[in-house]
Symmetry: C2
């Protein structure tokens, strides 16, 4: 059991971590820091922490572990405050969706003796804020660490053990691979979901209301994805810019090919393309990452 764990940024992920730590009694003291007074009120109401403050300096005091769970653009001042006010023995870790940029920033700011274990739980919903978090959010979900030169082996192990206690499956890879994989599995899907909802939102008013009325035909799934936190996603798009732009080029090129196939009534090409993508779905289901239960025609 740790004496004190600090959570900086207590939204969906941060509050779910607090819930796990509290429920499983993993720390004597839970300290939560957030810049939003509404979030702080909610955390107090939910009884998720025994120290609740907007003052990071105070929250860092005598702590054993600091979880950074804010949007990526908030890391710079947070790293500075941690460097200047947290014990040098404190393990710094995070849950950010892009890693190379964050590691680079940490190397610029943190003390050379700091211990930083970059991490990313592959879990979440489109909701945000402390009230949207829940116990078991991380259960059977992957937690990825992307060790850097500040990552002490023994501390990495401690963080991984914590996530195992949260119910996660833990794995490790380099930051570049992580960013590459997330670009295609998460960042581009979100970007194009935002984009199609944006395209629809510019339609004339009459058609727009019909689009909403008949959104069950596929569109509603994109509106769900595109309702995720805008600050978080703005920061991810900038944070993982290089990999996202690289993958987006491939995506746009492939889409151009499909467009040409439609233009030319190239039935064979369209069929083969639509046929091939089915096998990937089978592999996703086989890998336990989704169920076969059909969801597109949800009944409620």
């Amino acid at each position: 059991m740790f004496n004190k764990i600090t959570i900086v940024g207590c939204g969906l992920i941060g509050s779910s971590i607090a819930r796990e730590i509290k429920k499983k009694k993993l720390a004597k003291n839970i300290s939560v820091c957030d810049v939003s007074s509404k979030a702080l009120r909610d955390i107090k109401f939910l009884k998720l922490a025994n120290e609740i403050s907007s003052n990071l300096k105070a929250c860092c005091k005598d702590t054993d572990i600091i979880f950074i769970c804010t949007p990526l653009s908030a890391y710079e001042p947070i790293f500075k405050t941690i460097r200047d006010h947290a014990p040098i023995s404190a393990i710094i870790t995070d849950v950010g969706s892009s890693k190379s940029n964050i590691i680079k920033l940490s190397e610029k700011i943190l003390n050379k003796k700091s211990s930083f274990i970059p991490g990313h739980p592959i879990a979440g919903t489109e909701e945000s804020g402390p009230k949207s978090g829940f116990l078991n959010l991380f259960k059977n979900r992957w937690f990825i660490t992307t060790p850097c030169k500040f990552s002490k082996k023994k501390d990495q192990k401690k963080i991984e053990q914590l996530w195992t206690k949260f119910g996660s499956k833990v794995t490790s890879m380099n930051a570049r691979s992580h960013d590459n994989i997330m670009a295609i599995t998460s960042h581009i899907p979100h970007l194009i979901a935002y984009n199609i909802v944006g395209t629809a939102s510019k339609l004339e008013a009459k058609i727009k209301s019909e689009v909403i009325k008949f959104s069950a035909s596929g569109f509603r799934d994109f509106t769900r994805i595109a309702s995720s936190d805008p600050t978080m996603w703005r920061d991810i798009m900038i944070g993982n810019k290089k990999q996202i732009l690289f993958m987006l080029k491939r995506f746009s090129k492939d889409l151009k090919h499909l467009e040409t196939a439609i233009q030319n009534n190239n039935k064979k090409k369209l069929f083969n393309f639509f046929q091939k993508t089915r096998s990937i779905r089978a592999k996703v289901v086989k890998a336990g990452q989704d169920t076969k239960a059909s969801n597109f025609g949800r009944k409620n």
Copy 2:
């Protein structure tokens, strides 16, 4: 109660219609025609019809209503057989996802005295085949009729009453509006889901297996959509070509703008864009087309 209803093409939609007609005793005789012998065996096993055949001529005999539930590319020979062998009093209707092209085809082939009520239920899953159909698939879902010059008012009413009995909410619009709305709510979403899964499938083998492993971060939802029936979707892309290409141009232009914003670190533009799309989601939920329950982080 009708004497005989014929269903041509008995997959997910056709078999669900058969289930409704049987359960609600809406016809004395249900006749099912399909070109797949496997489908015919499944329909026999499921006891969905009392006449099961691959011979459309026989299935059309003395029928009151013909539901065409095949991929769009099969309509031409079906229209011809119906014209030559079904009673002139039979009501012809369909469930195809694009309407203008089908109406044009019907005007070219059908007898001038025929009664054709083009229709489209906004319901379905990514599964296909008679075993994937189910009772209540259409419950609380929209059914759209797009009347054409072959649509007799009294027959349109009969078809709409049937769909009301299936549990659907019924509405009517012109074919062009339908095709326009479906391009943005259904056809483009499917096309880009297929496309991103296709882009991922071309990645190097090592990364591809990681993409599958970490697909819960968004990608899995696209693999689900992109596992829909390839023949059906090939036909839709060609069938609604004009509207799809028009909307795709807008989509690609918007995506180019987002790409430029990422390239230029234009945080303000990205934030405003991601913020704006949230309001559409709220309207979708308000319109009863989806629930607020978060789904992206499904627990199984």
